[in-house]
């Protein structure tokens, strides 16, 4: 995606902040790792003592104590590994869970314009695979990065004490390792980022083809989307193989340099022994000690690669967490009044677009009045309805609710007073009751029943478990008309001050529509309402009509008055006859 930050390292450090509550366990984990390494190093020493002591002196008594010591060290090592892993589970998972919660909570509060732009597959891959990459690095890589570097330094100090020249040579071997890993890092990070992005794109494609499966099936396009998927998956495959290429250079280099250093040490060491600058014993000790470095250095290649992946993953996560909502929360926590809605010079342009969808709209909706919005497809009605609950913010002018700019109100306050039913009803995988009481979890049973009654949604009582039946994607599927009636029930529940209904009856049959209209009529009596209307029958619900053309208001008045305008008649004429 765009907006890539140039400081992946900083992102990783920031995400490390999530470990702050775990400082104690983190220290415990590191201490356990160090001590376990130490315990494992002691066992050979005990062995040596057994051979030099009891075995040489035929001392069975001493054997028992040394045997017990070896056992104790073995148990201690296992116990320390256990402590490290147990703690690691606790803190790594705790961090992962906390970041995922934050990510989800943040995403829910980002404006609709953000979600129009970002595919959920991309967001999802950040919340799952990127996070587990970070978790893996924090739980293993980070600890051993320190342990291994500490081991390296300790061993180098010991080596220098044995032979300063050769010891410094070993220390110098770190320089090419550092340089090579730095240059490889750059290409690795770039390719790791590409893989992560492409994984997100693939997840997006998977999501689209899962949600759109009916359309794909209707047109028999399984083969077509399959081909597209394969080419995307192949693209990811190629990038991942490219990444494997960088990894292979990375890891093998971390093998090569210590091996070459060893050859050099042997050559120079043997010469110095020959020249009498060093004893044979010292050379043996030096080489043996140097060999203990092989795992710490080898694994450093792997750990660094892991760390770079974690960095790019953290970067991707902060791209989302750093996205700020441009729909800012207002300060006013209370809003009272009869529900007067006033649009003053309202205009709206979608982000990135040049042509405004709406411009220069002035409209007063009096308290309790029902205002119909009429216009042809694409005239901006739906956009206008989204501006009142601030799903988008106006880009010109302002909208006042009881004299207060809606942008000055707290979002929760505004959205409590304004209830919306969208033209496409969204149901969640929850019980019928939960779906209806979505915005008002404290609604009473009577309120719920009343809302059901208004929306003519009494079919819910006949569902297998009544109001407790789970619906939505993970539950019982309902017809379009049923879904629309539930969405309407949700909007009218608890009689909000302002109702915004976007073509709320489009999926209903004539008889149901008539019944809903009748019931709605009662509700709308005392409620300020904006009502997008396509059909003449629904117009009867409105006190006045606002006629939109090309993104602006051309007339406001009663239905009868507006019928004088030919363009209005064309849009909403009762004369629905089809010319042959």
């Amino acid at each position: 995606m765009d907006g890539r930050s140039k400081h992946p390292m900083r992102s990783l450090l920031r995400i490390l902040g999530y470990l702050r509550p775990y400082r104690g366990p983190m220290a415990l984990m590191t201490a356990a790792a160090v001590l376990a390494t130490a315990a494992s190093l002691f066992v050979p020493i005990v062995t040596e003592h057994v051979v030099d002591g009891p075995v040489t002196h035929h001392d069975r008594g001493g054997l028992v104590s040394l045997g017990l010591l070896a056992l104790a060290l073995g148990v201690a090592e296992a116990a320390l590994v256990f402590v490290r892993r147990w703690t690691q589970a606790y803190l790594a998972l705790g961090m992962e869970t906390a970041v995922r919660d934050d990510l989800y909570q943040h995403l829910q509060r980002l404006p609709v314009s953000f979600h129009d732009k970002w595919q959920s597959g991309q967001l999802l891959s950040r919340a799952t695979s990127d996070l587990s990459q970070i978790r893996r690095f924090l739980s293993f890589g980070l600890v051993f990065l320190f342990v291994n570097i500490a081991t390296f330094i300790t061993v180098v100090v010991l080596l220098v004490r044995i032979n300063a020249g050769l010891g410094l040579l070993v220390a110098l071997a770190a320089v090419p390792l550092f340089l090579i890993s730095r240059s490889l890092s750059r290409s690795y990070m770039a390719v790791a980022r590409k893989v992560q992005d492409q994984q997100g794109d693939l997840a997006t494609y998977i999501e689209e083809s899962a949600v759109g499966v009916r359309t794909i099936r209707s047109f028999g396009r399984a083969g077509y989307v399959g081909t597209a998927f394969r080419s995307q998956a192949a693209f990811l495959h190629d990038t991942a193989v490219e990444k494997a290429g960088v990894v292979s250079r990375f890891w093998s280099t971390f093998d090569l340099i210590p091996s070459l250093t060893l050859s050099l040490v042997l050559l120079l060491g043997a010469r110095s022994v020959d020249a009498g600058h060093m004893t044979l014993g010292q050379l043996v000790a030096f080489v043996t000690l140097m060999l203990t470095l092989s795992w710490p250095i080898d694994s450093l290649g792997f750990i660094l690669a892991n760390g770079q992946e974690a960095m790019t993953a953290a970067d991707r996560i902060y791209e989302v967490l750093d996205s700020r909502s441009d729909v800012l929360d207002g300060a006013l926590g209370t809003s009272e009044g009869p529900g007067a809605l006033s649009l003053q010079g309202v205009g709206f342009t979608y982000p990135g677009a040049t042509v405004p969808v709406l411009h220069g709209i002035d409209l007063e909706v009096r308290p309790g009045e029902t205002m119909a919005l009429v216009g042809v497809t694409g005239s901006g009605k739906t956009t206008l309805t989204a501006l009142v609950p601030r799903l988008y913010d106006v880009t010109a002018g302002r909208i006042l609710l009881d004299g207060v700019d809606v942008r000055d109100l707290r979002l929760s306050t505004l959205r409590t007073r304004v209830a919306t039913a969208f033209e496409e009803p969204t149901l969640f995988s929850a019980s019928v009751r939960e779906n209806i009481t979505l915005g008002r979890p404290d609604a009473s049973e009577e309120d719920v029943l009343e809302a059901i009654e208004v929306a003519q949604a009494s079919f819910v009582h006949d569902l297998p478990w009544g109001l407790d039946t789970r619906i939505g994607e993970q539950g019982l599927s309902l017809s379009g008309g049923q879904r629309q009636r539930l969405a309407l029930a949700r909007a009218v529940l608890g009689r909000p001050d302002v109702l915004v209904l976007d073509d709320p009856l489009s999926a209903l049959d004539v008889q149901t529509e008539a019944l809903v209209e009748e019931a709605l009529h009662r509700v709308l009596q005392g409620t300020t309402a904006l009502l997008v209307v396509h059909r003449p029958s629904t117009i009867a619900l409105a006190d006045r009509v606002a006629f939109l053309q090309d993104g602006t208001l051309v007339a406001v008045g009663s239905h009868a008055e507006l019928l004088q305008i030919p363009a209005y008649r064309a849009v909403l004429s009762a004369d629905a006859e089809v010319s042959a």
């Binding site: 209707s218 399959g226 939960e434 004539v510």
Partner: protein
């Protein structure tokens, strides 16, 4: 409120598994893994060979150093030779390791590509009914998080497995030949190792299965909330969703925690057994040396090798852990791959290269779960006829549309196109002949033209425009900010419902099927657009069969024939005019409709 209250009640499958099922699941996942690896057999052998070379080179290092120290001091020539050999060994190790890593990366990615493709294609053949139950979130979870779990195994698995297995085997042989009694003491640790591995297998299978389930639920909730973000925000659902997601995320954490803690016991458990064995051999061996049964050198060597025996055991245990995690994912994926399609493709399809469009229902019975929707339907729709289905919710209109589109198969009887049972038609022939437009109007990310072109991939821009013109929607599309090239954004969010519906119509026109099924396809259109569409339909439907479901009777008026349905039975059948004259349900409906227009 507990997690269950808000979710409500649903008829769901049970997840409790008996022993026999577990065994079957295991066999099924292993079979899948084998079939995924089979095409890479040659490459795998190469990888193993490279791995052996690299390890041989790595082991040569210490040996050469020993030679150099023992004999090279004072002998410059030999020393130089040894150092050259060392450099060669280092470079060989480097080259073979690098080649191995690249090759194993290729194998792993090849397997993942194959797996993704297989599962994706399978999902695309599974019925709509399956998808409605399975949910899109689960599909995503299978194809992302489950595949990732297998990727983790392939990433480092081969390396660990081969090296560890080889070391364990070779060192095991050395141990037994070096000193049999000490070797036998070592063998005593085996029952313990076996026991702990079996314990781990049993427990971790459960734990990892649980993590797969939990992550799927997290993903489902995630996708669902973001998909319905407008409703979430407009109804202040955020805090409640935070709570729900928090709970699911916590469940996932607990599931992972369980799996992690099993490893936290298993890995050091193996280590403990190894360390205890080393201590036991140390004491036992020392006694044997003291008693003169063996040499000090043998004991020293034995102890050294013993460490090299147990170290790779750690790697084996880690491999085993990744395998367990991958197996849980493979269980889920192999389950999807094994899922029988409820609308299976015919083994021997009857070719129908160009359909006329005659539809017949013969004694068709259909229902969902226990509810019968169509008890016994007989119906013939001659080629070229436009039929409108009318009736209350639940009368069976949509069911008929879905049977014609073969989203479902009838429980009894048959649905035929030109006399051929739909079940005998290839997917390709069926979809070329029958296209359905619903009120759903799904749009893919891309431009308006891309979305129309979905009806006939490869259609030229002129064809796309022509389809829109035939529909009368050209002006609407041309007026969009970038015309046909307007990016519709996610799910077509940039377009209004009416515009989306027009795109869906244009798409269907472009597909040019013999049978067009319209299920509430005009419900979001405004009156001028509807009028245009109806006008277009008269021309477009002239030479093809159409099944129209619409509560807007203005759309029904263009039909040649109207069927009034009640509880899955046809109660009125005739031309709109006939039915109006006859009086009855349709006449009543028409009356109500006319009233609604005033």
């Amino acid at each position: 409120m507990t997690a269950l209250d808000w979710r409500g009640v649903a008829a769901e499958g049970r997840d409790d598994l008996d022993v026999a099922t577990t065994v079957r699941l295991r066999a099924r996942s292993r079979a899948l893994l084998r079939s995924l690896l089979r095409p890479h057999k040659r490459r795998l052998w190469w990888a193993v060979a490279l791995l052996l070379v690299s390890n041989f080179a790595a082991m040569a290092g210490p040996y050469l150093v020993a030679v150099g120290i023992d004999k090279g001091i004072g002998d410059d020539r030999l020393l130089t030779e040894v150092v050259i050999a060392l450099v060669i060994a280092a470079v060989t190790e480097y080259a073979s390791k690098r080649a191995f890593l690249l090759l194993s990366g290729k194998i792993g990615q090849g397997v993942l590509l194959d797996l993704r493709t297989r599962v994706y294609d399978k999902f695309q053949t599974l019925s709509v009914a399956f998808h409605e139950k399975y949910t899109s979130g689960r599909v995503i979870s299978r194809l992302t998080s489950d595949v990732d779990a297998i990727g983790e195994l392939l990433d480092g698995g081969l390396d660990d497995l081969v090296i560890a297995a080889l070391s364990v085997l070779s060192v095991g042989v050395i141990l037994l030949t070096l000193d049999l009694p000490m070797g036998l003491v070592t063998l005593l640790s085996f029952p313990l190792l076996l026991w702990i591995s079996r314990w781990f297998r049993r427990e971790s299978a459960l734990a990892y299965r649980r993590t797969r389930e939990c992550v799927a639920l997290v993903i489902v909730q995630f996708v669902e909330s973001l998909g319905g973000i407008r409703a979430v925000q407009a109804f202040r659902r955020e805090p409640r969703n935070d709570e729900i997601f928090g709970q699911l995320n916590e469940d996932y954490r607990v599931a992972n925690d369980r799996a992690f803690k099993l490893v936290a016991l298993f890995a050091p458990g193996i280590k403990l057994i190894g360390n205890a064995t080393i201590a036991a051999v140390l004491v036992f061996g020392a006694v044997r040396v003291i008693d003169g049964h063996t040499e000090v050198g043998v004991l020293a060597a034995f102890l050294l090798y013993l460490r090299r025996f147990f170290e790779p055991m750690q790697e084996l245990s880690m491999f085993y852990n990744s395998l367990q995690s991958a197996t849980a994912a493979l269980e889920k994926l192999s389950g999807v791959l094994e899922e029988p399609s409820t609308v299976p493709a015919p083994a021997d399809p009857v070719p129908l290269p160009s359909a006329r469009g005659e539809l017949t229902f013969e004694a068709v019975r259909f229902g969902y779960r226990d509810a019968v929707v169509l008890p016994d339907l007989d119906l013939v729709i001659p080629a070229g006829e436009t039929v409108a289905l009318v009736g209350a919710t639940g009368a069976g209109k949509t069911t008929i549309a879905r049977l014609v589109s073969r989203f479902y198969d009838p429980l009894e009887g048959r649905v035929a196109l030109d006399g051929v049972d739909l079940r005998s038609l290839s997917e390709e022939d069926l979809r070329r002949a029958v296209v359905m437009v619903t009120q759903e109007n799904f749009l893919f990310a891309g431009t308006v033209a891309d979305n129309i072109r979905f009806g006939r991939p490869g259609a030229s821009t002129d064809d796309v425009v022509a389809a829109a013109q035939a529909l009368g929607a050209h002006d609407v599309f041309a007026a969009l900010p970038d015309g046909y090239e307007t990016d519709v954004r996610k799910r077509g969010g940039r377009l209004s419902a009416g515009q989306r519906q027009l795109v869906a119509f244009a798409r269907a026109f472009l597909a040019d099927p013999a049978v067009l099924v319209l299920d509430e396809a005009t419900s979001s259109l405004d009156i001028p657009s509807e009028r245009l569409v109806q006008h277009a339909l008269r021309t477009v439907l002239a030479d093809r069969t159409a099944v129209i479901i619409a509560h807007r009777l203005s759309t029904v008026e263009i039909a040649d024939r109207v069927l009034v349905l009640d509880q899955g039975r046809v109660v009125e059948d005739g031309s709109p005019i006939e039915l109006l004259e006859r009086g009855g349900r349709y006449a009543d409906l028409q009356q109500a409709w006319d009233d609604s227009l005033v």
